[in-house]
Symmetry: C2
Subunit: 191 residues, 2 copies
């Protein structure tokens, strides 16, 4: 009998979305809170990969971790890998201020999911292109109120019902790739 | 015969200032460029401490590393530990934009110097209080053109001759503490 895969995060919003998405794909994970060492890098894949190794070292069971960031083209990718720090400090209003009067509003939300099976780490990348809105709309966490994903009539992530966001999000795309991998390998099965 | 202490950095501006300051205190270091793993933390002391351990592990000789950041009160400490990333992306103009119309312009430049002697790490903290200027003045690296240290007639770091900046800077204050420690312990001597 082996344990369920641990989904390691301290962010309850991320946990809620990920559990929901994975469950739709018949993958049950256990959310585990743990303080995991995180490296500084402009490359979120590197950050996620390192964190998966650290999490595995600490928990000694298969783990999933995720790193995500909002990359704004006109700001050279800012806030990117440091999105959560930027959210905590200057917040949505700070980002809108930086974008005031800026015409080129394209941005990409990226998610990198890293899975460590005890032997090695694999990463799965999902991204969604969109635009930074002119003002916040809707109520949700992080930068969701100012990100308008392409093809959704200019609604922000925060204006979409969670079920809809969870069908189209960067997180969904990364987790879908992970799910396909797990199902193919039979790694999601408790034995 | 032991080696000189290695001052590990990839930032030539930092190297120039630090070598200058330490030399004034009769401490000779060798600047070593190396890619050192860096952690994410809101606490730059923790970042510096970790990096000193990594640098020692890699080089196997006494090492000095430094982490510094500009903490702006009205922005909840932003850009803080991620100052160099913020400089690379939104730059000085981005920070000024965030501070446009903001009256409370107080900020602190902090430096944490970490020294690993092969047994343990010690950290030395220096800080300088000041203000964010209304516009960039002077030519220099990083956020120097918009930081006015207290008691220097409203000149920015960038407007001061390097010898003057090096007498009053956050970096100077941290390195002075390190120098006193090294001299007291006789650790700066090549034997």
């Amino acid at each position: 009998m082996s344990l369920r895969i641990a989904y390691v995060t301290n962010n309850p919003n991320k946990a809620r979305e990920s559990v929901f998405i994975l469950r739709e794909m018949n993958i049950e994970v256990e959310v585990v809170q743990a303080k995991i060492l995180e490296i500084q890098s402009d490359d979120i894949s590197e950050v996620a990969r390192f964190r998966a190794k650290e999490a595995y070292r600490q928990l000694r069971r298969p783990v999933i971790v995720e790193d995500a960031g909002l990359f704004i083209d006109a700001l050279n990718g800012f806030p990117g890998p440091y999105s959560s720090y930027v959210f905590k400090t200057i917040g949505i209003n700070g980002v809108l201020r930086l974008m005031k009067g800026v015409r080129r509003r394209s941005a990409t939300f990226k998610s990198v999911v890293a899975f460590h099976d005890g032997k090695k780490v694999r990463t799965f990348i999902g991204y969604v292109k969109g635009r930074i809105s002119l003002e916040p709309r809707g109520y949700s966490w992080g930068f969701d109120p100012i990100f308008e994903p392409e093809g959704l009539k200019g609604l922000t992530y925060a204006q979409l019902p969670l079920e809809v966001k969870n069908k189209v999000s960067h997180r969904r795309k990364a987790l879908e790739k992970l799910a396909r991998y797990l199902i193919e390998k039979g790694k999601h099965l408790k034995t």
